[in-house]
Symmetry: C2
């Protein structure tokens, strides 16, 4: 008789007792986190936006942290898909595709601030659940496979461990995203966009490994 549909609902798919509370809560939490960071998200506020009582969410999540962990897990799934699409199996060429992964990293941080914050800026430990660990490992695995491919043509003597290369690029991407991308966005007089900063860094790094682009188009 009185289960009003919150506010931002899409207007379909409700069954009885609000229908899909679980998804509605996740959506509300994503919006709240995207706006105010992980701390600005409140279990009670999410329930309010979904139009249910403050106790209702506990039928779907053990506690607040588990909702965050579930969002992070789902986010890593999307993250993995975005990285895989950017890599595109190394097309058009491994070097370009490698840089595209970095760009996808930053784009994800910028366009999915809710997911990104839940994944990296909330307090969750990544080792919390095996599923979370697995899906984050899969996302990183794409970067690692790409590093393997990019370094494959180097002579064995000077070929670095692909894992190390992947860790370097991941760390650089994550550092740039944390410091200058997404929310908070320190923007301390950045002379270039985060994307360009990252691409330049990766190119210099690859050059240091002895991998140079055939036609060096971008030069600082």
């Amino acid at each position: 008789m009185s289960w009003r549909h919150g506010s931002a609902g899409r207007g379909h798919g409700r069954a009885y007792h609000h229908g899909n509370l679980r998804e509605a809560l996740i959506e509300a939490a994503l919006a709240l986190i995207a706006e105010n960071g992980p701390l600005g998200f409140t279990f009670a506020e999410a329930a309010r936006q979904a139009g249910v009582s403050p106790a209702a969410p506990y039928r779907h999540f053990r506690d607040r942290d588990q909702l965050l962990a579930d969002i992070a897990q789902q986010g890593f799934g999307h993250f993995e898909a975005a990285l895989a699409q950017a890599w595109n199996q190394g097309a058009p060429d491994p070097m370009t595709a490698f840089c595209n992964i970095g760009k996808a990293y930053l784009e994800f941080a910028r366009t999915q601030p809710g997911y990104y914050a839940a994944m990296f800026e909330a307090g969750i430990t990544l080792e919390a659940t095996p599923e979370l660990r697995d899906v984050s490992d899969r996302a990183f695995g794409i970067l690692r496979a790409a590093a393997e491919r990019v370094t494959a043509n180097l002579p064995a003597q000077q070929r670095p461990p692909a894992l190390m290369v992947a860790l370097h690029v991941w760390s650089l991407s994550h550092g740039i995203a944390s410091l200058f991308g997404g929310r908070n966005a320190v923007r301390r007089g950045l002379p270039m966009s985060p994307e360009d900063l990252l691409e330049a860094g990766v190119l210099v790094y690859l050059q240091g490994l002895g991998i140079s682009r055939q036609s060096s188009e971008t030069k600082f």
Copy 2:
């Protein structure tokens, strides 16, 4: 009459009304943050550890966020000092000193988890107060000056902007520290220590810029 001294006090320096509550609160907050992260720190708990009522802290800090901001500001001061000492005006040689800055970055994250978390993992915006902005700029300025020095000997045509180099190294250091260093410490089967990972990355990067160490000691 009854101003018991909390628990962890050093047993000196108290005047009347507890004496230096401000410092005691900062110390308590640092310990709490170092243990449980920025979220595990409670204004009330800090007051409890200092042996005062929950309202007392408001005589010294406008609110909880300002205490965090003050800690972050103080932390950036120590951070600047640590980086400056590591750089040591470019001694023994600029390249080694440059790597030392990176190591100091990670060492700070590891040995000062309370400060580090307040600086980078709490929700504060760095632009909150001009003082905070200034002191963080000073810390970064050390890295930038070092980058200037390291790239100074390159021929003008291939010399990159020092600012960009500093941003790259800062981002890499910060990414490694966030992902693998300090608290949380994802440790996803790291094949090497964060310090070694960072040093290797910086060396590859510098090599990509055309700067190589005279005697290449470390090779992956």
